[in-house]
């Protein structure tokens, strides 16, 4: 094949191909763009050939991803060239370079119109093609009638008419209000008699668009569609060149059946009979053959026939035939067919009466949940979600939970949301529901949104029988060594409310409950502290008679937080402190939370909202939506297909829920109870659960049990003015001592080196020196008194995260003037985690009591040992660790732009050694290191960072190691180092980094990803 015929273009392409790297390519492109720009400037000297060549070059550069922001005018002007070669280039490149909204297109409208109404067939084709591909509103306004004329003109050849059909389709699709299609039903019917298959195929696409908008007008086309289908599928009456691997134009068959799906029914019995004959033939006559393309084509037709059968509500026999077919498909080896089998089975769920047959395939579908292909896993999850009902909920939810621990991060959020919804909708008993949600939080805390744990709290609050059980469960989870912050929240809440039910059990005395919860305090973020404070207040309230020791402990905590920077925490600390001094009166104020009013689950509502967001014109989709939303409403909707009516999980537990005999009265009872509640609370119940839990004024509790989650001064329950005054903080204690230097900066510096100053103020300097060996660390704190008088009441306390075992030697109570004391600190790393140990340090100087909390630089990278690998050592390891959770990849945006060398230095500085020359691409970095902890021992970690020289603010990072937690933590750790935001003190729990690099725009019909978007 000869080269393009344009030497300059070929040379340019060769040059680009010979560029060693992206930088060189950019230079070459810039040079060329400069050249084109100057040539275009004195346009007069340009021959048509040269113009053409430059325009192609521009398109090529555009295709490579560079901005081409000039030369559009020259491109558009080629359209009006008199000769075919230039005109052709003008049309095609304009259609590729410009968007439908581009201003320059307006300039071309007249020329385009002249070409369309002109006599030159080839010009007509070019113009129709461009308008068909990028035509916008103005084209529709000025050209639609002309295009319509061409489509039905008898003097035009098929090659023009088929283009006119699709051009009209584009204009109509974009601006149905501008294109006048009144009276087009007859014309369309005529067009369906067309013998030329090209024109017929294009017209059928047009018909699909017209019918989807307004099927009423096009009834006359329906029998014609059936005829066309018969002609193709039954009679095979079609020119040889239009058969594809022996199948009469599969595309036209698919299109025709698509058009038929927009008509609600087929009334004429004869037409209906002929159609079903053809469909039956397709369903039964499609065999699996060796040739892939033939197979694909015939199955394309088959799957379209399946949806048509579903749409037409065929007799039960034909439906079960379809389900049987799909059942066969989901078990075949061919992944495409498996995928489509699952997808169509999910659509099939909308048809009544087949659920039971589909349920027979449950085992096979669960197998697909473990398929190596994420596309198939997604379909399987969707199908399981759709087919779940009271009879199989336990099995399915347990499968989902089991799968959660091994699933990829991209799916976890969706999985946990779906599991939570199913558990709520179909729980056979409430204790199971509580179990499921707690397991969910335990296994995938990062992916469990607040709504999920708010909901479980609602249920427990409203069901007295459930409360001791839930409290006991929460207590069990607290014994686990490392629990997620969400688990801390939910268990603290539950134990605060209900731990008094457990008081007689071993390990559940108020004191023990308090101390196990309080152990978690150093590990949690600011948002959890208020919940813990409430829990302490409630524990105190339930301890009657009061235990002085416990009381003092809790008071000390309240006291400590009275000066907290966070207003919410401060307020709670102050108020609880004041309230708890009131003794027995406390019981009235801090009584149990009242029941929540009955309402629709926020989770389900969220799922519904997402469903309706994906508004699409398609009939299938619309139908699916209606059905979905019915299925999701939490009312006492009776399950179809004859399973015994069991009322949906209601907030107020009914005593007779399990006895089938008097279900009816139970439902009645529920209605009455709900009714009463509604009267108490005249406002329409908001679905905002956050409001419920955090805003006490939103709900009116029973008298006497005034809600005091957040005691606003002046709440009704507070009797006298004197008492109100007590709530106002009397003495303000503030740290008036200002630190010298930036604490955060000092901390970050110490993360990278082993000795230096951790903190300094006018009175004291705290230095640190550390030695690290494998998973052990030995730090020495140097406490230096800068004054000429002693510092007294010196206290140092290490608040270790759960993954560190620390031991601090005794700290003297007094530091003599101008003296320095050394306090050795032993650290053992148990497992990989990014959490940071905190040094809680306080002293008194004169009348100033100073309390500071400092992060200790015993961070993840300290337990790394640099290691340089050769290619022979690196690659086998890299390959053997494949896929999540051992190997994780993420596209990171907002990276601090660094030259590659500096990035390598940064990595080296936290002991992840860059191995130069391992990656053939000079824009990439490959690094390795060894991580030490007690649980993992020495473990090799491999890192690869791919940077984009064109955009330094983003990169793709792949991290792998032999331990999933380590991989995740290390990835997050490196990310924190690379991302622009300077990590502020105590780092908030990382937002779940859903590794779905492809979805920055939240996919609208994927609840999980939608949530991720919100986060």
């Amino acid at each position: 094949m000869a080269l393009s015929g344009m030497r300059g273009l070929s040379v340019f392409i060769s040059d680009i191909r010979n560029c060693q790297n992206k930088e060189q390519e950019r230079l070459r492109v810039d040079k060329e763009l400069g050249n084109i720009r100057t040539r275009f400037k004195n346009e007069k000297g340009l021959t048509p050939y040269e113009k053409k060549k430059y325009v192609w070059k521009m398109l090529y550069i555009h295709m490579l991803g560079y901005d081409v922001d000039f030369g559009h005018m020259e491109t558009v002007s080629l359209i009006s060239a008199p000769k075919y070669p230039e005109k052709q280039v003008g049309y095609i490149v304009t259609a590729c370079l410009l968007n439908e909204n581009h201003d320059f297109l307006r300039l071309a409208i007249n020329t385009v119109r002249n070409d369309i109404i002109g006599r030159n067939e080839t010009f007509q084709c070019l113009a129709l093609t461009m308008v068909g591909n990028i035509g916008g509103r103005e084209f529709a306004e000025s050209l639609a009638p002309d295009v319509q004329k061409l489509l039905i003109s008898s003097s035009c050849r098929p090659l023009v008419r088929k283009k006119a059909a699709l051009c009209l389709l584009r204009l109509y699709r974009k601006n149905p209000d501008v294109v006048n299609v009144d009276g087009w039903a007859d014309r369309m019917a005529q067009l369906l008699d067309e013998r030329d298959l090209g024109v017929l195929t294009s017209s059928m696409s047009l018909l699909v668009a017209l019918v989807s908008n307004n099927h009423e007008a096009y009834w006359s086309c329906l029998p014609k569609c059936v005829k066309t289908l018969e002609r193709l599928a039954r009679n095979q009456d079609i020119p040889q060149e239009y058969t594809y691997y022996g199948i009469p134009s599969p595309w036209l068959q698919v299109k025709t059946m698509r058009a038929l799906q927009y008509f609600p029914t087929i009334e004429d019995p004869n037409t209906r009979r002929s159609l079903f004959e053809v469909l039956q033939r397709i369903l039964m006559g499609t065999d699996v053959v060796k040739n892939v393309n033939k197979n694909n084509a015939s199955h394309a037709v088959l799957f379209e026939a399946l949806s048509l059968v579903m749409h037409l509500d065929a007799e039960k026999e034909m439906m079960s035939q379809c389900v049987a077919l799909l059942g066969k498909f989901i078990a075949v080896r061919e992944p495409n067919i498996r995928y489509l089998g699952l997808e169509n089975m999910t659509r099939m769920l909308m048809v009544t009466d087949v659920q039971d047959i589909i349920k027979r395939h449950q085992a096979q579908i669960i197998t697909s949940l473990k398929d190596p292909d994420i596309s198939i896993r997604r379909r399987a999850l969707d199908l399981l979600y759709g087919m779940c009902d009271i009879s199989n909920a336990k099995d399915i939810v347990e499968e989902l939970l089991q799968y959660l621990s091994t699933s990829d991060f991209a799916m976890r959020e969706e999985l946990s949301l779906k599991a939570a919804i199913l558990a709520e909708k179909f729980a056979p008993d409430l204790s199971w529901y509580v179990d499921v949600i707690l397991q969910l939080i335990d296994k995938a805390g990062d992916f469990v949104s607040d709504d999920i744990w708010f909901r479980v709290v609602q249920f427990v609050t409203n069901n007295d029988d459930l409360q001791p059980y839930a409290a006991a469960k929460a207590r069990e989870y607290l014994d686990k060594p490392a629990i997620h912050e969400t688990m801390v929240k939910v268990s603290a809440y539950l134990l605060g409310e209900y731990s008094h039910f457990l008081a007689r059990r071993p390990g559940c005395s108020p004191k023990e409950i308090f101390s196990i919860i309080h152990e978690k305090l150093p590990t949690v973020s600011m948002s959890t502290v208020p919940i813990l404070l409430s829990t302490y207040a409630k524990i105190l309230m339930h301890t009657q008679p009061p235990e002085p020791e416990l009381q003092n402990q809790i008071w000390a905590i309240f006291h400590k937080y009275e000066s907290c920077i966070d207003v919410e925490i401060q307020q709670r600390a102050v108020e609880y402190f004041a309230l708890s001094a009131k003794g027995a009166a406390l019981a009235d104020i801090l009584a149990e939370m009242p029941k929540f009013p009955e309402r629709q689950s926020a989770l389900i509502k969220k799922a519904e909202d997402i469903e309706t967001d994906t508004a699409e014109q398609s009939a299938i989709k619309l139908r699916a939506q209606q059905q979905m939303s019915n299925a999701l409403v939490v009312t006492d909707q009776r399950p179809a297909n004859g399973t015994p009516p069991v009322s949906q999980l209601t907030l107020v537990k009914l005593p007779s829920i399990s006895s089938n005999s008097d279900n009816y009265s139970a439902d009645e009872g529920a209605r009455q109870e709900n009714g009463t509640l509604t009267r108490v609370d005249p406002q329409p119940p908001s679905a905002d659960l956050l409001g419920d839990l955090l805003d006490p004024l939103a709900i009116e509790g029973p008298p006497g049990a005034v809600q005091s989650e957040q005691n606003v001064p002046g709440v009704d329950g507070v009797p006298s003015a004197a008492d109100t005054a007590a709530i106002v903080p009397i003495e303000e204690q503030k740290n008036t001592v200002q630190p010298i230097g930036n604490i955060a900066e000092r901390f970050h510096a110490l993360c990278l080196k082993d000795s230096g100053v951790l903190y300094e103020d006018p009175h004291i300097q705290i230095g640190i020196k550390a030695e690290w060996r494998a998973h052990h660390g030995r730090l020495v704190l140097f406490l230096g008194n800068k004054n000429t008088s002693p510092l007294v009441s010196v206290q140092a306390l290490i608040l270790p995260p759960s993954h560190l075992k620390t031991e601090l030697s005794l700290v003297p109570d007094t530091i003599p003037p101008r003296a320095q004391v050394q306090c050795p600190l032993e650290v053992v790393n148990l497992r990989p985690s990014r959490d940071v140990a905190v040094l809680d340090f306080s002293y008194k100087f004169g009348s100033h009591a100073v309390n500071i909390k400092l992060r200790l630089p015993a961070v993840l990278n300290k337990f790394l040992q640099p290691l340089t690998l050769t290619a022979d050592e690196f690659f086998p390891q890299w390959r053997s660790l494949s896929g999540p959770p051992l190997k994780l990849q993420e596209v990171i945006r907002g990276v601090r732009p660094l030259p590659l060398l500096e990035m390598a230095n940064l990595l080296n500085s936290f002991r992840v050694m860059v191995c130069p020359g391992l990656d053939p691409n000079p824009n990439n970095l490959v690094a390795s290191t060894t991580f030490y902890s007690e649980s993992t021992r020495a473990m090799l970690c491999l890192v690869r960072i791919e940077t984009d020289p064109a955009d330094r603010t983003q990169l793709r990072m792949t991290v792998s190691s032999g331990d999933p937690t380590l991989t995740f933590e290390l990835k997050e750790y490196i990310k924190e180092q690379l991302v622009d935001i300077p990590t502020s003190s105590p780092p908030p729990p990382m937002a779940p980094s859903v590794a779905s690099p492809m979805a920055p725009v939240p996919p609208l019909n994927d609840p999980g990803a939608f949530l991720a978007g919100l986060l």
């Binding site: 052709q88 968007n99 990028i134 584009r170 698919v254 997604r378 979805a999 996919p1003």
Partner: protein, 161 residues
């Protein structure tokens, strides 16, 4: 409908792009970046469909080139998969056993052919023969214009001698 067509090499180099829905240059680059990451990393024995931001991408690998077409979620996937193959067969016939190099240096021809196959993101012509005939006619039109041009320029050059 097909929202866009992408041809990407195994190394992530773009060989052809055609957009039937409006995307700005920025969005185009983003789509290409995301999709090449998503598709090039998929193993060989997986299905040909990838779900992506509420849409679906049907792709197929031919030698070193990935042909990708992005469609709506409820479009017929296999039909589009065979449009890809149909396109490849036409390219193959035109170039005579097509390879990636043909498409690199003759990317404009690939655009001509695609325009005969798809308009507005819908299939226009399903006969390979017809497409081949139309492309040949276009080529000869261009040739004819070239000859005319060169004969005119010889006349001019002779006259000005």
């Amino acid at each position: 409908m097909i929202h866009f067509v992408l041809l990407i090499s195994r190394q992530g180099k773009v060989r052809l792009t055609k957009w039937y829905s409006p995307y700005t240059q920025k969005e185009r680059n983003k789509v290409i970046r995301e999709l090449s990451g998503l598709i090039l990393s998929r193993g060989p024995k997986l299905c040909n469909f990838v779900e992506w931001t509420g849409l679906k991408v049907v792709y197929k690998r031919y030698a070193s080139l990935y042909f990708c077409m992005c469609i709506d979620q409820d479009d017929n996937e296999l039909e589009v998969l065979e449009i890809i193959h149909h396109f490849v067969e036409i390219l193959d016939r035109y170039f005579g056993s097509v390879c990636e190099l043909d498409l690199i240096f003759n990317f404009h021809k690939a655009y001509y052919i695609l325009d005969e196959l798809l308009i507005a993101g819908e299939l226009q012509e399903s006969s390979k023969k017809t497409v081949a005939r139309l492309i040949a006619a276009q080529d000869s039109l261009v040739e004819a214009a070239k000859e005319q041009q060169s004969s005119i320029s010889t006349i001019i050059s002779q006259a000005t001698k």
